[in-house]
């Protein structure tokens, strides 16, 4: 007795529907006879039998849809039927995990989010043991450490900058500045309608990443003006003035949660509006994202501080020793303004200069502010 099974007729054939029997029980069949027709997704296909014999039973009726290998009929006759291929169970190969470099002695593996949280909570990594992949210290490990330390409120430390240490440094510098530097102060209120119109025009066709802020235009005007008044661009050391080796403007940046940094934009007077904007943006992002290391702060030759559009109208800056000048930018406000004898509302900003009287006199300082004003009126040339 041999079984006649539903044949596999194709690589992706899983089942077939028997649409016609061409033999009946009792019929004699020979190898190669077409005994049935099977419907598949590809169409109807004639099915041959490979054994000689006599049909004894038709197991699957016409219309029956059965998977490949199912017995369709039984034959009486010599057994020559090849057994169906047993499915081969292939061993699952272990996933080829790239071998992680062994943790460097003393420097444990730590995942990025764990490192971030540890940094924010001032957790000492040496004391932790990792439970993550390759024994890395994970978020959970740090969270556990944080909760256990929560009682003793360790100060929040920004990676790279210790707020407490920064506070002390600012205090020391401001105290020295007030003690040593004879400041004189000048201010100039400037109509910035031309400047703002230029910025608005530039930004209209630019996608956000390439847009310019008014501060960048002010910075450009200041850099060009400072280049013309070298005695405001340098340092007062051992009783005499040392000129800067270029116009490197420190852009004062307030840090979130307190603290101040003034990373230098080197050769600001030779940079285009776009370059200035890009470096301002980069410095701010890195400073606030704790990406700046104190070692990176090259020494500015003059500092500019801007209160931004949410600050006060006017700032009276304190010079950052050993520099000899500092420019302040207030908030842009709308004020009545005399234009050709008539009064009309105009956006204005108050620029101030604090300068070290040992290195320069008020007259020179005044010329700087007037020059900045002149440049801003011809904003299209900047």
């Amino acid at each position: 007795m041999t079984d006649f099974r539903m044949p596999s007729l194709g690589a992706d054939m899983e089942a077939g529907t028997l649409v016609e029997w061409l033999v009946r029980p009792g019929d004699r069949v020979k190898r190669g006879n077409v005994v049935a027709v099977v419907e598949t997704q590809k169409g109807a296909i004639d099915i041959e039998i490979f054994n000689d014999g006599v049909v004894s039973e038709l197991v699957v009726p016409v219309g029956g849809r059965v998977p490949v290998g199912t017995v369709l009929a039984r034959l009486a006759g010599p057994v020559t039927e090849p057994a169906m291929a047993p499915p081969q169970a292939a061993p699952v190969t272990p996933p080829p995990i790239p071998a992680a470099p062994a943790a460097v002695a003393g420097r444990p593996h730590i995942t990025p989010v764990a490192r971030r949280l540890a940094g924010e909570h001032g957790i000492d990594l040496q004391r932790l043991t990792g439970t993550g992949p390759d024994n890395a210290i994970t978020l959970a490990d740090v969270q556990a450490a944080v909760s256990s330390v929560a009682s003793g409120a360790t100060p929040r430390r920004r990676a790279g900058f210790d707020p407490a240490a920064m506070r002390q440094a600012i205090a020391a510098a401001m105290t020295r500045s007030k003690r040593e530097i004879p400041h004189y102060y000048l201010s100039q209120t400037i109509d910035v309608s031309n400047a703002l119109a230029r910025i608005e025009r530039l930004n209209r066709e630019r996608p956000p990443p390439e847009r310019i802020l008014p501060a960048a235009l002010f910075l450009r005007a200041i850099a060009l003006a400072v280049a013309k008044t070298p005695e405001l661009n340098g340092f007062w050391e051992e009783g005499r003035f040392r000129p800067g080796d270029g116009v490197h403007i420190g852009w004062a940046t307030a840090l979130r949660g307190g603290g101040l940094l003034a990373p230098a934009i080197r050769d600001a007077n030779h940079r285009s509006l776009e370059e200035l904007m890009a470096s301002m943006r980069d410095l701010v992002l890195r400073a606030r994202g704790s990406g700046l290391r104190s070692s990176e702060l090259s020494d500015p030759t003059i500092t500019v501080t801007s209160l931004g559009d949410r600050g006060a109208e006017t700032v009276f800056p304190i010079i950052y020793p050993p520099q000899v000048a500092m420019v302040g930018i207030g908030r842009i406000v709308t004020r009545p303004w005399v234009v050709n004898g008539a009064i009309e509302p105009r956006p204005v900003v108050t620029l101030t200069l604090a300068a070290d009287h040992r290195a320069s006199d008020g007259h020179r300082g005044g010329l700087l502010l007037v020059e900045i004003d002149r440049l801003l009126q011809e904003a299209d040339t900047l």
């Binding site: 930004n203 008014p214 501060a215 979130r256 949660g257 943006r281 931004g308 559009d309 949410r310």
Partner: protein, 78 residues
């Protein structure tokens, strides 16, 4: 992009600018610049990241529409 995705995206971007802020308790109507102490540079970065991540152009004239969290969500999903 639906409202949920827009909100997630906006919060993600704000988190990269003001990491210490607690966004769960940020009222939808609060003025972001005041609530999170964002200066014009922060706000420009906020607009830039939104533009880069969503592909939606945001002209300067529309900045006021994104002054609050709810305003920004409806702007991104209009």
């Amino acid at each position: 992009m639906n409202a949920g995705e827009a909100r997630t995206l906006i919060v993600d971007v704000l988190a990269s600018i003001a990491p210490e802020a607690d966004f769960d308790r940020l009222p939808g109507g609060a003025v972001l610049r005041d609530e999170l102490d964002l200066d014009s540079m922060d706000f420009l970065n906020f607009i830039t990241f939104l533009h880069q991540k969503s592909g939606i152009d945001i002209p300067e004239a529309d900045y006021p529409k994104l002054s609050t969290l709810d305003g920004a969500v409806s702007y991104l999903t209009r």
